[in-house]
């Protein structure tokens, strides 16, 4: 990373890591308003239009600049208030639109919540506000986080900044693409089966699914309560640690929140030492079914870790082969119940039946028929079926048993290794539309990320290089025992620095330049795409 001073152009400013931005803000080399404006300008330049990234569903210009100005004023005044500013104060952030925010719409990527404004802030959003981090806006996602490509958003897909014809992963494709396209230095995601890590892998960014219960879920619109977890999205391992430290820790509003104080994750990321650590390759999570270029980059990472003094061992997790099947019973079961509340009675969309009596059942039915997309309906039907009397034991009950077996596999594996390692996703980013009509192929994309959710253990994905055959980013996944998130940052930071040394800089430096779509003459298709995204770019 080249050093910059206050006269640097905003195009250089936006490429800085959050840690570096924080340093420059603290040193008074740049103001938060300048930084925030630079990212807002970048969003205006690359996010909209026919070939825009479309990472954002809503841009929060006024509030973000107001918070930035507040931080600048505190810094300028000096004294105790300036001293007490959080390390990340003034560093902007994007928030996945599954997480509720006062003052901005929250859609969950669904028509059923179009125009809905939350009356309360999610706990993680409160913590961002306490740290005085300007919120740039809300990012796109598969509807209710159900998908691996962001194509299931009711507001149109997000594009992968590495290749605009490819998917950015999902469900958190918006957060990953925003960070990869330098539209935000940091973002929040949610990960139920890989929705932070897989988008990280295919966009060349870092994403972390923390230990279940270590970050409050209060205010994250639930898909599958026992699997969902909010986590950081960034361009560097250290940046994720910094953000994780802001959002993590006990929350009395979430009963599943762990009471333990958070470990010092930032220190772990700065420690950078794997000498003597045992790193376990999971036999079942590489090889057959994995793209050759993915496999090659994975092996290179293992080699680098070995050179740095780590001991590479192989572990077997024989029950992981049942993880995907069990996941697709537990997740839809919980989702079918969690999404029951969207019925048009109290908030959001209400659609009256076109004919016939206006009974409550019929109003609920037509609202849900019109408000939910196909993938959401598919999972609700699947989950309703799996929970039905007479099927419960065979489906939900068996899936819970598989879950226990997966936990045992992890326990056995962590008896042999401090950290486990695998490719994050079996392939690089596929083309938009390629798997849209093949749900099973889409589901297979999460085969390596799902076991961590099933067991509640933490996982981190970091860029592992570009695949030989298509030149697209490959993700490396690290997994640690529950409550040992610090190990992920420790090993991740080492691997990142070894890889960057090899590449001669961050992987994203090799991403193609995005053209300024704001200068495009609007075409008919532009108008159509803008109309499909009513809240995009507006400030409500």
């Amino acid at each position: 990373m080249t050093e910059l001073n206050s006269t640097d152009s905003s195009s250089a400013l936006i490429r800085l890591s959050a840690a570096r931005l924080a340093q420059k803000l603290a040193a008074g080399e740049v103001t938060s308003v300048e930084v925030t404006q630079a990212f807002l300008d970048r969003i205006a330049a690359v996010d909209g239009g026919h070939r825009g990234v479309h990472a954002f569903l809503h841009v929060n210009t006024e509030e973000a600049l107001a918070v930035a100005a507040e931080v600048d004023a505190i810094r300028a005044a000096g004294g105790a208030a300036a001293e007490e500013l959080h390390e990340l104060a003034g560093v902007p952030i994007a928030v996945k639109d599954l997480i509720v925010t006062i003052g901005q719409p929250t859609t969950a990527g669904s028509k059923i919540l179009e125009g809905w404004h939350s009356p309360y802030d999610a706990t993680v959003v409160k913590r961002l506000r306490d740290a005085k981090m300007p919120i740039l806006g809300k990012t796109n996602l598969d509807e209710f986080a159900m998908g691996s490509s962001t194509e299931h958003s009711a507001y149109g897909p997000t594009r992968n900044p590495w290749d605009l014809d490819r998917i950015p992963g999902g469900s958190g494709g918006g957060s990953a693409a925003a960070v990869a396209a330098f539209e935000a230095p940091l973002a929040l995601g949610t990960d139920t089966g890989g929705s932070i890590r897989q988008p990280g892998a295919v966009t060349g960014t870092v994403g972390v699914k923390p230990t279940y219960g270590s970050v409050s879920r209060y205010g994250a619109i639930a898909m599958a309560s026992s699997l969902d977890q909010i986590g950081p999205v960034s361009r560097t391992v250290l940046d994720s640690a910094l953000l994780h430290q802001v959002i993590g820790g006990h929350d009395p509003f979430d009963s599943t929140s762990l009471p333990d104080p958070l470990e010092d994750l930032v220190a772990a990321a700065r420690l950078g030492n794997v000498n003597g650590m045992k790193i376990g390759i999971i036999k079942e999570l590489h090889g057959e079914g994995y793209q050759a270029g993915v496999e090659n980059r994975f092996n290179e990472s293992l080699e680098l870790l070995k050179q740095a003094g780590a001991e590479i061992v192989e572990v077997s997790c024989p029950n992981f082969k049942y993880a995907l099947g069990a996941y697709y019973l537990i997740m839809p079961s919980e989702a079918s119940s969690n999404l029951a509340k969207f019925d048009g009675v109290r908030y959001g969309l209400r659609v009256l039946p076109e004919e016939g009596p206006l009974t409550i059942e019929r109003v609920m039915g037509s609202t849900r028929a019109a408000g939910f997309g196909d993938e959401v309906k598919r999972r609700i039907i699947l989950g309703t079926y799996a929970l039905s009397a007479g099927y419960y034991d065979a489906y939900y009950g068996s899936a819970q048993k598989v879950r226990t077996l997966i936990q045992r596999d992890f326990e056995a594996a962590f008896a042999q290794a401090d950290v486990l390692i695998s490719p994050t996703a079996p392939t690089t980013a596929f083309k938009l539309g390629e798997k849209l009509n093949d749900p099973l192929a889409m589901y297979l994309n999460d085969v390596a990320t799902i076991p961590a959710n099933m067991a509640g253990v933490p996982g981190l994905s970091l860029p592992g290089g570009l695949a030989d055959e298509d030149g697209l980013p490959v993700g490396i996944q690290l997994l640690a025992p529950a409550r040992q998130d610090a190990r992920l940052y420790r090993v991740g930071a080492v691997l990142e620095s070894l890889l960057e040394a090899q590449w001669g800089g961050p992987l994203l430096d090799r991403a193609p330049e995005l053209t300024d779509t704001s200068l495009e003459a609007p075409s008919l298709t532009d108008a159509a795409s803008i109309e499909a995204v009513p809240s995009h770019g507006g400030s409500h």
């Binding site: 879920r217 919980e334 509340k341 109290r346």
Partner: protein, 501 residues
């Protein structure tokens, strides 16, 4: 359409009733079961709610610790075992009074199970009701159906929903099938619900006001021919919300079932609605055991762990059990066994205790409640406690009588006025011009007139037949429209006739 019924006696001759009760008790915690919104009755609709009670996107439940303590106390008072760990589940169904479209309720892991309650019937017979479980759940909101017929959902133009009650903590107490009550079944039903109400009130965990729905009873009734072991098909009569209604509903269902069985038809397994006005039930929705609520463990909550130490701590805080309390009260009040049992059966023990606490003697309190109020409640077809008589009113009325300001007959009239909402006793006495005539002048005139009107009676008294004086006193009282002090009238008559009383 009214259903055919058999007489209760005939029903009993042919069939053996089996009962079962689900009693819902609303806890009086400060906040709701899973949110920090206030648990308060009677406020403006939709004011005691927050994002959790409204089922907003992203919210999560947090269990109210006081509600758990109250539930454990109820379990202990019902002689239940307390689960070391237990969980909540989700009961999934779409209904607009349930904001999440699922109810968070305990399902296969209740906090308390395997208990019993000994019930004393009116003649002193003890009957043991076995408790299957007491589990925790949240209450639903309240729907008001507008337009159409009499607040029913059928034919309503639209419905309003108030979520103030949504999330109020409930404990549901479920009995095992109650067999062997025979013709005492209706009485047992009433006594059982009264006992549960007494327990939760005594524990201080519920306001226990049935008229407010703090205690609600669903009564299951089935019949089987005498001597048969297998149960008949049951009906479940919902929301029977007074003690008298419980007794009536069970009696009615027994008579209705008997008529159905006699006709050779099978009883339909269904919920029934109780109608106080017609004292009968009507068919609700068909209910089968196959109703699919798609229960599964609530993933947003962790299991509740009730350590044995905690349970014992709570056990140590339990108040005196109702049976012992009764013994103590009877001794304190000096009532005979019969007097006390009458008081208990009339359901006015608590009211008498409150009246004594307000300053009345035990005798006076009993005289008012048993002599005046129970009868009025019976006429009004409500439980005596629901009539609206305040202990202070009784104390005030009694003071007026003892002070000679009014007599007992007037006091009863004043009580009617108080109940009719005409004001305080003093105001009513003033307004109606009620006061004992204590000036002897008008009395002497009336006595002269009465003696003149019945000279033969006057002669009898003069001749020593003092007991004949009643006719003269009656005449005086009539002339003074009851406002005279009868004792003083008697004295004056005897003086006038020169007879020793």
């Amino acid at each position: 359409m009214t259903d055919a019924t058999l007489s209760f006696e005939e029903a009993m001759e042919k069939y053996d009733p089996v009962l079962g009760f689900e009693v819902h008790v609303e806890l009086n915690t400060k906040t709701k079961m899973f949110s920090s919104a206030p648990n308060v009755f009677g406020d403006e609709p939709n004011t005691n709610v927050n994002e959790v009670d409204l089922g907003m996107p992203g919210v999560l439940p947090v269990v109210n610790k006081t509600a758990i303590e109250s539930s454990i106390k109820i379990g202990l008072a019902l002689n239940c075992k307390i689960a070391e760990t237990c969980r909540f589940a989700r009961k999934n169904y779409f209904y607009p009074d349930t904001p999440k479209n699922f109810q968070t309720s305990q399902y296969d892991e209740p906090i308390a199970y395997d208990g019993y309650l000994d019930i004393e019937l009116s003649d002193g017979t003890m009957f043991r009701v076995e408790i299957e479980r007491a589990h925790m759940e949240e209450d639903a909101g309240k729907l008001t159906h507008m337009g159409g017929a009499a607040g029913r959902i059928q034919g309503a133009d639209y419905s309003l929903v108030d979520y103030n009650r949504s999330g109020v903590p409930l404990v549901e107490i479920v009995t095992k099938p109650i067999q062997g009550a025979g013709s005492r079944a209706p009485e047992l039903a009433k006594a059982y619900v009264a006992a549960v109400r007494e327990i939760v009130k005594n524990l201080g965990v519920s306001d226990a006001k049935m008229e407010r729905g703090n205690v609600r009873c669903d009564a299951n009734v089935s019949l089987r021919p005498h001597g048969r072991e297998r149960f008949g098909i049951r009906s479940e009569t919902k929301n029977v919300n007074s003690l008298r209604a419980v007794e009536h509903a069970v009696r009615y269902e027994i008579q209705r079932h008997a008529a159905v069985l006699d006709s050779g038809e099978p009883v339909i397994q269904e919920t029934r609605h109780w109608h106080e006005d017609t004292r009968s039930t009507t068919s609700g929705r068909a209910k089968s055991d196959a109703d699919d609520y798609r229960y599964f463990p609530e993933p947003d909550l962790v299991p509740i762990v009730a350590s044995r130490e905690w349970v014992e701590e709570l056990r140590a805080t339990l108040p005196e059990p109702p049976a012992e309390r009764r013994k103590r009260l009877q001794a304190d009040w000096g009532y005979s066994d019969l007097e006390f049992r009458d008081v208990v059966n009339a359901g006015v023990m608590d009211e008498i205790e409150e009246t004594i606490a307000a300053g009345a003697t035990a005798t006076v309190a009993r005289k008012w409640w048993m002599g005046e109020i129970v009868g009025r409640a019976k006429n009004a077809d409500v439980d005596p406690g629901q009539l609206g008589v305040k202990p202070e009113t009784i104390v005030e009325l009694n003071k007026m009588v003892e002070g000679g300001k009014i007599n007992n007959k007037m006091a009863a009239e004043v009580l009617d006025g108080v109940l009719a909402g005409e004001g305080t006793p003093a105001e009513i006495v003033e307004k109606r011009g009620l006061a004992v005539v204590s000036d002897d002048g008008p009395l002497l005139e009336a006595i002269d007139a009465a003696l003149a009107a019945q000279p033969d009676v006057a002669d009898k008294i003069r001749g020593g037949k003092v007991q004949a004086i009643g006719a003269i006193v009656g005449g005086v009282m009539k002339a003074t429209r009851g406002q005279a002090d009868a004792g003083r009238v008697r004295e004056l008559i005897l003086q006038k006739l020169g007879v020793e009383g």
